[in-house]
Amino acid sequence: MPLLELREITKVFPGVLANDRVSIRLERGEIVALLGENGAGKSTLMNVVYGLLTADGGEILVDDKPVRIKSPRQAIDLGIGMVHQHFMLIEPLTVTENIVLGREPGHYGIIDFTTARERVREISERYGLKVDPDAKIIDLSVGMQQRVEILKALYQGVRVLILDEPTAVLTPQEVTELFTVVRSLVDEGLSVVFITHKLEEVVAIADRILVMRDGIVVGETTPGATDEVGLARMMVGRDVVLRVEKGAGTCGGTVLAVEDVHVHDDRSLEAVKGISFSVCGGEILAIAGVDGNGQRELVESIVGLRRPSSGRIELKGKDITHANARASIEAGVSHIPEDRRRRGLVLEFNLAENIILGDHRRPPVARRGIMHPRAITAVARKRIADYDIRTPSERVLAENLSGGNQQKVVVAREIGRDPELLVAAQPTRGLDVGAIEFVHRQILRERSAGKAILLVSLELEEVLSLADRILVIYEGLIVKEFAASKTDAETLGYYMTGGGGSKLDTGTGARQIATPSAGGDQ
């Protein structure tokens, strides 16, 4: 008897069929991975189960009895819990307070904290989820916060736990710990639905894999019966090139020259301590490093968002050291920012308005301060078509698009401007295989077109597969330069963490070196 069964669930959003008659069965004590690209309908389906959305058709059965779930409260009462990508915890409160919230033990409005703490401790020991019950949420790491979310669901007595992209925010160590926890939950008789778009996780954790694409379940398999290439094909619907193919690089003259640049960060500390390099036309130069070693400040100084305290930056011989963002764009620098939701897009703007950002003063979009709606629509539609942005229209708000499509908008805008230099910071962060492949292809196309590309990435596989040359940045200095073909991840990792005798090896952040992501490897 299945614990949870979905029959022909259908969910329609304006212009989008998010779930099309999806049927799923979940047995007791199993881990089902729900695999699919961003926008495949995985989260929508689980939001229906958790009562955040109401299905337009189909039925849900718990213990073979049809149920109607209209709110998370009802879902929890039926034993279904969900941990979202964005945690829903109250930061100034303690772990215990957060866990018992809504179901506090006690009488007459007075909470019995001794009992509460005891129960939290009991559950956390039973499932091996160690966490300090008196710690404040705000002081916990992201991985710990996720534990609190899981504990909260367990405290509420759930039998089915839905984890929505649980590894997106975790470090590799934390992922391993999470997998251990998930297995212990299943040993205790719970069932887990694991939503993800990362192939290697699916293979590592799932008992059964359901692959979704365009709102339907396109296949069911087990980790033993397939491999990552097979899964990628099912997920995207065609063969995916997991390895980037590219020809030999050519140098078409220096485009970007950076000479002894020093940059201060927001706390007025020197983050970039004298960096020099140049990028040729037709070349991809990658800067590899552990997050927080000055990459952000370096990028910001090149694209005009931050002033270098000394040094010189030239674009095709023209001094752009003190150019602001506008002058930088007009000089031919395009910038794919590392955080698309914060720096890349105005989420409340529609697609067309986002696509013209940065070009909004220039013809054909605007003349003498007056904008031309028809020209804007034309530009937007061309970009949407050229860059395969999946949207019902150019008037859809950016916030209503999936992460992959949002990134496509940024890429379309920055590359569509036809720049001399493309600065791409973490261009594939949080994207699924299909979208990663797309972004990589666009960057390589720019390379073939003779443009200079500066790639900053924490993903070593991405750096290794895309770049012609790699600079390793450590504590604001370039500590090593490699030809991409003559190095590997281990060597890079060694220099990224302060190896090679340049500085003390503090070991901080070393664990944040990106492990191979689903997209860049193989």
């Binding site: 959003f13 304006p14 212009g15 989008v16 069929l17 998010a18 961003n38 926008g39 309908g41 995985k42 989260s43 929508t44 939001n47 955040l52 959305l53 979202h84 964005h86 365009d214 694209v303 968002l305 602001n324 963002a325 506008r326 002058a327 764009i329 007009e330 910038h335 920012p337 914060r342 720096r343 890349g344 897009l345 105005v346 989420l347 409340e348 703007f349 308005e353 950002l357 940065g358 909004h360 003063r361 605007a366 301060g369 007056i370 904008m371 709606p373 949407i384 999946r390 949207t391 019902p392 229209s393 008037r395 859809v396 916030e399 209503n400 698009l401 999936s402 992460g403 992959g404 499509n405």
Partner: protein, 375 residues
């Protein structure tokens, strides 16, 4: 998914518009219902009260004229607030800029005595805009350069403006006589009443034009509404204003100067508030005195909120608040309901508009989560 392009999106546009219009309307309706209950509990007849309020604001051409009279500065102040809100700036000190606009007009109007109206009126309106903008400029610079919050600074500048006007009408600009006020503006500097534009015969034939005290400042206000709408929708100025309001980081990355945009936004906001002061002096009082504005700059905040910062919607929102101000007297006289009850209605309208923001915030959070994975 990209196949069914046009149709659903247009449908959604209509749904979005319906939601935008529906919520303020519902807020007004709810406010009326609750204030009815309050009146009923207090022993008044709410139906008689609202009927009298309606008669006093829309019942006769003269009553409607009074509504227009009160609405005119509210439209302009509301536009100023709305423009600022679109850049995520709360120009709570519109009242101060309004005072400066009034001051500029009252002073310059006397200096320009003897000039023809087609010189004085444009010059005075422009001067009022400059004065309002100048009064917003210092808080704007403080905000842009050192991040001083505009709610504090513009508010403090309101006090300075009010006491400056108090001093000037008692001292240097005081006209001869007992009353602390400036001299009467020459007729070339006055905004004529609407009914004065028509001949007696026309007024006889079309009595609905007998709009009493309503003056041509309403034309200025309506033109301003269209201009602000156009600015926001069709110019790079407005585009940058909105971009900075929604997400200053993305705006900055797109080459927009956030600081400069803030300065421009607050100055335009101040210019519109200054214009509100001008029409009040040039169209109603023809002179400046301590109490020439009955808090139009503050009511403008409520107008902008009710209009959800849409420049065209500011017009009906201002008419509503103008009608309440105009009809309050009639309500007291005919239904024997204290005029102050109007304040309760106004407060409730604002309350529900604000509460709607809370409710939709949560609804949108849920939708965001749900739809962020669909594309």
């Amino acid at each position: 998914m990209s196949a069914e392009a046009e149709e659903p999106s247009t449908k959604r546009d209509w749904a979005a518009i319906a939601q935008k219009v529906g919520v303020p309307l519902a807020s007004v309706l709810l406010a009326m219902i609750i204030s009815s209950v309050i009146m009923w509990v207090s022993g008044y007849d709410p139906f008689a009260a609202f009927a009298a309020l309606f008669r006093g604001s829309f019942g006769t051409p003269k009553a409607f004229g009074d509504t227009l009279l009160k609405s005119t500065p509210l439209i302009l102040a509301g536009l100023g607030l709305a423009y600022g809100f679109r850049a995520n700036l709360f120009n709570i000190g519109a009242e101060g800029q309004l005072f400066m606009g009034g001051l500029a007009v009252a002073w310059l109007g006397l200096l320009l005595a003897g000039q023809p109206w087609w010189i004085t009126i444009p010059v005075l309106l422009l001067a009022a805009m400059l004065a309002g903008a100048a009064w917003a400029f210092i808080p704007a610079i403080l905000k842009a350069r050192i991040g001083a919050h505009e709610v504090i600074t513009t508010m403090m500048f309101t006090y300075i403006a009010r006491y400056l006007v108090s001093y000037l009408v008692i001292g240097p600009l005081k006209s001869p006589g007992q009353i602390p006020q400036t001299g009467l503006l020459p007729s070339e500097s006055q905004l004529p009443r609407i009914q004065s534009l028509f001949s007696e015969a026309t007024l006889q034939a079309m009595p609905f034009l007998k709009l009493g005290r309503a003056h041509t400042g309403i034309v200025v206000a309506l033109v301003a509404a269209v201009v602000v709408w156009w600015l926001l929708k069709y110019t790079t100025l407005g585009y940058e204003n909105r971009a900075v309001g929604y997400n200053p980081f993305a705006a900055e990355t797109g080459g927009i100067s956030v600081q400069w945009t803030i300065v421009k936004a607050l100055c335009i906001s101040g210019a519109l508030a200054g214009l509100a002061g001008a029409v009040e002096v040039m169209g109603v009082h023809y002179r400046l005195f301590d109490q020439f504005s009955s808090g139009f700059g503050f009511t403008g905040i409520a107008v902008a909120l009710l209009a959800k910062n849409h420049p065209i919607a500011v017009v009906p929102a201002a008419l509503l608040f103008g009608a309440m101000a105009a009809g309050g007297g009639t309500m007291q006289l005919e239904a024997n309901v204290p005029q102050k009850i109007i304040l309760i209605v106004q407060a409730l309208v604002i309350f529900f508009v604000a509460a709607e923001g809370i409710v939709t915030y949560f609804v949108r959070q849920r939708q965001k989560e749900a739809t962020s994975h669909v594309g």
